[in-house]
């Protein structure tokens, strides 16, 4: 089974749009991408219990790479680790990659069957093409 990918965002709309964009890179290939976004009322916010649930659902035994937006999304993702079973927690990588660029790199690599560490490494490289293009 491929590595699971989970998107954590303050905004449900932002998470879904990021997933839609990333899926565009996967024509004809199936990959489950989980989301945990928005607060319990659908407003802006993050919820560590929802993140833990999404990670557990995305884990098929080969681990999960979590991409997140900013600020308290990072705190919530870390808090979610504490809510997971020990066995699952060991297979989770919280990626410091930028959300959109990192997500695209991660899903393309995950769909190709790469392992968790490789998927996480590709997510981190997601910014490189833009940096190279703009000479940054």
């Amino acid at each position: 089974m491929p590595v699971g990918v989970v998107v954590v965002s303050h905004s449900r709309a932002l998470a879904e749009a990021a997933v839609e964009l990333a899926r565009g890179m996967l024509p004809g290939r199936e990959l489950a991408i989980g989301t945990a976004a928005g607060d319990v009322d659908g407003g802006l916010g993050t919820d560590a219990t929802a993140i833990a649930d999404a990670v557990t659902a995305a884990d098929s035994g080969d681990g999960v790479v979590v991409l997140m937006d900013l600020g308290s999304a990072v705190l919530s993702a870390e808090t979610a680790l504490e809510l997971l079973d020990d066995e699952v927690r060991e297979r989770v990588v919280l990626s410091p990659a930028p959300l959109v660029e990192g997500l695209v790199g991660a899903v393309v690599t995950a769909a190709a069957g790469a392992g968790r560490d490789r998927v996480a490494a590709e997510a981190l490289l997601g910014l490189a093409p833009k940096q190279a293009h703009l000479g940054g």
């Binding site: 929802a50 600020g71 308290s72 870390e78 808090t79």
Partner: protein, 210 residues
């Protein structure tokens, strides 16, 4: 009387909730000055939900009370305060071993250290740690000197209040207030203010329990 049984911890949460509700607008005003003006409303909503969760299904085990509060705050507070207060109660639940004042102090210390680890902040950064840290120190010191829990918690609440007041001249180095840089000085930190209410609530709710 057992100090930190489920009833005692539930009483603590009730008192914290009452104080947050009473101070809701004041907390929001502090947050309006250096944050995003939602701390009072967020914490009021979260603590009310925690009380409702404890009433819907009253846990028998003391640690389960703290765990219920943790997960409810995580779900309902939002912003950074949700994971930070949630981590406080989660780590306290994990460290609670025993039912006396020393066990309570150990649990609270573990909660404080959890917030340090989660927020990657330290004392002096103008955060809730500036109230919680001195409170933990005062509690440990008083219990270590053989003072009864009542008196130790009162000293802890006083230390928290002093720590809160000391945040006024500080420049914020963590959280949204840090975007303001030097302009954050001159304002009392809302997180240190609500954390002081948490310690104050313990001093009130656990009074007479040892």
């Amino acid at each position: 009387m057992t100090v930190v049984d489920a009833a005692g911890l539930t009483a603590w949460v009730h008192e914290f909730t009452r104080l947050v509700h009473e101070q809701r607008d004041a907390l929001t005003q502090l947050d309006a000055a250096i944050g995003d003006a939602d701390h009072g409303a967020n914490l009021d909503r979260g603590t009310a939900a925690a009380v409702a969760a404890l009433e819907a299904q009253a846990p028998e085990e003391p640690a389960a009370v703290l765990k219920t509060v943790a997960t409810t705050l995580i779900k309902t507070v939002g912003g950074a305060s949700g994971p930070l207060y949630g981590t406080f109660f989660l780590r306290a639940a994990g460290a609670l071993d025993g039912d006396d004042g020393a066990a309570f102090a150990t649990a609270v210390r573990a909660g404080y250290e959890g917030v340090v680890a989660r927020g990657k902040a330290e004392r002096g950064d103008k955060t809730m740690l500036d109230a919680l840290g001195p409170a933990c120190d005062a509690l440990d010191e008083a219990l270590g000197a053989g003072k009864p829990l009542d008196e130790a918690l009162r000293l802890a609440a006083d230390a928290a209040a002093q720590g809160r007041d000391a945040t006024v001249p500080m420049v914020a180095r963590k959280g949204r207030a840090s975007y303001l840089g030097e302009r954050s000085a001159g304002h009392q930190d809302p997180g240190a203010t609500s954390a002081t209410l948490l310690v104050e609530a313990a001093a009130t709710a656990l009074a007479g329990r040892g």
